[in-house]
Amino acid sequence: MSLDAAVRLTLGPLDLDMEFAIEEGEVVALLGPNGAGKTSLLRAVAGLVPLKSGHVRLDGQILEDTGSGQYVPTERRPIGFVFQDYLLFPHLSVLDNVAFGLRSRGTSRREAADKALKWLDRVGLNIYARAKPAELSGGQRQRVALARALAANPRLLLLDEPLAALDVTTRAEVRRDLKHHLATFQGIRLLVTHDPLEAVALADRLIVMENGHLVQTGTPAEVTERPRSQYVADLVGVNLLRGHAEHGSVHIPGGPSVAAAGAESGEVFAVIHPRAVAIYRNRPEGSPRNVWPGRASGIELLGDRVRVRIDGEVRVVAEVTPAALKELDLDEGGEVWLSFKATDVGVYPA
């Protein structure tokens, strides 16, 4: 089982151009900022928006191919779709919602109701079978939406921001449930999220997209260790620089050269963890390390750490303890020197 898609669309100012493949058994999260085109991509795979060009193939079966003009309408694609706000039919009972897909595909009323009830059983909501969706909590609706999408036995499950509509207190619990249910489903699972935590928790592989384009794909560990865009670096909370590496240092265009241990030659990314960056009020003496001046342009408390944004030739974020910050006697706008070791710079080809 596999999904193979090349999606090109124009959506207002956004040109969506994505090619990707998903292998059998994978849970893939499409991660990107708001407005990156994630939801549109999902809708295109479902056939809800026609492609400008490209193709969608599921298990070798062509669902859409602009080259040959083939197009399988949404209602005949073997998909399940969990919408961001679930879109449970408000006029139908929970049971009828879950049975809707089976009934649409010709299952008899009785059998559909039996199967739907089994699905409600699985998600622990069989006692709500006769209730209307409006009577359920957010987390329960999410489970009904999942059961409804899975009941008709799709080969491809698409989830659009499955947890975004939930409040923070229920999100963790529902996420755990969702992970469990995703694990029991055998088909391909593609979910869209802007929340890196959700992506890492639920998916085997991330596809990061920005402005309609793929920027990075890999396992959560690969993506977080080696971010390839500012967006991912910000999500992970590390400093990302891009430059040209030569003789153990990375030249940042329009900026300083960064000494980096083991830097290969060529275009590279350099990643520096904020905790590896030290801050001084005066230039640190006699040090072969990376040292440059800047101005503290933002100070924020994050848990038991303080993140200090330092604007200089390049912007770098440093993370220190509140005690260290107090010792530095630093306010926003204060002049500082920052330094980090060459061995704390991770370098990989761009």
């Binding site: 949404t74 694609r77 879109l87 595909r105 008709a152």
Partner: protein, 261 residues
């Protein structure tokens, strides 16, 4: 919170405005010959007119639903050149004097009308001055209310429910009947009720296109008008009956609108 103080001039004008509606109704109730009510109501002409009125107005509503819902759907969902002009044309009967509508119907479907003469010579179908003519006249005047209400309902509904249904394998017909129609249920009900009420009260187009034959085309409003000249008391009672029906419809609608919908 403090209660809003009503300026005297506003209160006075509002009171006159309300009285303007209440006084005629009061007149109708007070001056009706209640003693003769049973006799007037059970008179064969009354029963006939009432039956015809109910039959014709319900038929007009049925025709309105069958033809008006697809038209509303087209207006709400399909973009085509001239849509606004077409919508204006099909809305025209709402503002057109009904008598003019009746004359237009005669010119089109009359025995020597544009389309009517062909119907007559080809199929031997005559529409004016028949009960079918009554239904046509009432539909002509009342259907626009249904079209506009249903179109508004279709435009304001969340179409993503239809997409959700499609991802669940529902055919277009199933999407329409199982999702779209139930979701616009309140609009559909309100549109049908408005259409029916308008058809029930129809006078001008009916008398012009269908005439005033007892038992065939004489509906309640026509009977009321006719009796006003021959038997005033009876016409008061019939008016009261129409008033009562209208009131019931209005209250029913209000509950529907303020209720779960």
């Amino acid at each position: 919170m403090r209660r809003e103080r009503v300026p005297i001039i506003v209160a006075a004008l509002a009171a006159i405005g309300a009285a303007f509606f209440i006084l005629p109704l009061l007149g109708l109730v007070v001056r009706s010959p209640w003693g003769d009510a049973v006799k007037a109501l059970t008179a064969p002409e009354t029963i006939e007119a009432l039956k015809l009125s109910l039959f014709a107005s319900l038929s007009a509503t049925a025709v309105g639903l069958v033809l008006g819902v697809p038209l509303a759907w087209v207006y709400a969902r399909v973009e085509f050149p001239g849509r606004d002009v077409l919508r204006a044309l099909t809305t025209l009967p709402m503002v057109l004097p009904p008598v003019v509508g009746g004359i237009a119907l005669l010119l089109a479907f009359g025995r020597r009308g544009l389309f009517g003469s062909w119907l007559d010579t080809t199929f031997g179908i005559t529409l004016p001055f028949t009960t079918a003519g009554v239904v046509m006249a009432e539909t002509f005047v009342a259907m626009p209310f249904l079209i506009l209400t249903v179109e508004a309902g279709l435009r304001s509904m969340d179409r993503r429910y239809e997409e959700a249904a499609r991802t669940l394998g529902a055919s277009r017909w199933r999407v329409f009947t199982r999702v779209t129609l139930p979701l616009i249920g309140p609009s559909l009900f309100a549109g049908a009720a408005l259409c029916w009420a308008r058809a029930l009260g129809e006078f001008g187009a009916t008398i012009t296109f269908a005439g005033n034959f007892p038992g065939v085309t004489q509906t309640m409003p026509l009977a009321v008008y006719l009796q006003l000249e021959t038997n005033q008391e009876s016409s008061f009672i019939l008016s009261l009956v129409l008033l009562l029906i209208s009131l019931v419809v209005l209250i029913g609608l209000r509950d529907r609108w303020l209720g779960s919908a």
